[in-house]
Symmetry: C2
Subunit: 174 residues, 2 copies
DNA sequence: GTCATGGTTCAAAAAATATTGAAACTTAGA
DNA sequence: TCTAAGTTTCAATATTTTTTGAACCATGAC
């Protein structure tokens, strides 16, 4: 159902216009792609992050595009996504209009943000839905076992919703 | 990148051959589909689980197929998946060769199993990979900051690998 | 204001994933 | 052994997701 089996190399049919990834950057990218897949993040986003992660200096839009050999569109969308989840930061050399990107200091914090942004909205959306499910099941006289299951489900959902912010406060420092 | 926006109803173009889902079963199915999407489980699998979860009695292959209006292939593969992750159990009315399916008692345990099965293999696979990355980065004299990041990454990976079984032992009871 | 650099948008194309269903397999019972 | 119910397999198809790239927008330098 998942497990992006070893298409590691095959993703590399890319025409990196210049300065292609070194072997270790490549393997690191594969690592990030693999992990990203588990939480539903696309390969191009994972690659961008990996590249920045392995870079000693902040990189510009063009450098990212050039080294990964992906389209402008992918770079733009990828940076937007990473920005949105606070996983990267930009700086500008002064006198230049060009942004330079680097990963935020804590990868752990980044992952937590990402997870929260995926999970919490789904939980929030679900709360009223489960409420309705339970109500309807009750009025329709579903069996006691089923009602019990549905109550438990609703309980867990709201539990998760209140616990998440506690376990992982908005701006973790680790 | 995710968020399976409200195609709730649209998935319902299905020709349920008979006895289609009741409104609350439907909404529950949508809930499970939404949650399943986050961890990369397909809609048909989520629907099967939802149906069993909302059913007071164990259901046969044919009942599942009929009520959801999906193909034999999907039912077979879905049950295989759920079985494989210990999320459902079968019983047989004696004198019958037909299996009847129901969810395992603890949904929490099921989810943990599922997560473990997705995450742990990826972490295991990654350990040697990160080892190589770090070695190569060292021999190639990557910058101290990058080396530091890579060390941290490797550390986290092995940390997660040893922690996971502790946090969620093989057969949790909750 | 104009222009060129830097970046975004989004419809179309490509790639990945999920679903279907007909054929094949398995096995309990006659 | 033969049969048929019950299930699995897997190549073909449908659907969804990701990527591309040309057209468009924004803004700082002049």
């Amino acid at each position: 159902m998942k497990l992006p089996s070893e298409k590691a190399a095959s993703r590399r049919k890319k025409r990196a216009t210049f300065d292609p990834l070194s072997p270790y950057e490549l393997e690191l990218a594969d690592f990030f792609v693999r992990m990203a897949g588990i939480i539903g993040v696309s390969p191009s986003v994972a690659e961008i992050y990996a590249l920045l992660y392995a870079s000693p200096k902040a990189l510009s839009f063009d450098e990212i595009q050039g080294r990964l050999g992906i389209s402008k569109g992918s770079v733009s969308q990828g940076l937007k996504f990473l920005r949105g989840h606070e996983m990267i930061l930009s700086t500008k050399d002064k006198g230049s209009r060009r942004e330079k990107w680097q990963p935020t200091p804590s990868l752990a914090a980044s992952i937590v943000t990402l997870l929260r942004n995926q999970v919490v909205p789904a939980l929030e959306f679900s709360a009223p839905s489960l409420e309705r499910v339970l109500n309807q099941a009750e009025t329709v006289h579903a069996s006691p076992e089923v009602l019990e299951r549905l109550r438990k489900l609703k309980h867990w959902n709201s539990r998760a919703l209140e616990l998440f912010p506690l376990l992982f406060p908005s701006a973790p420092k680790a």
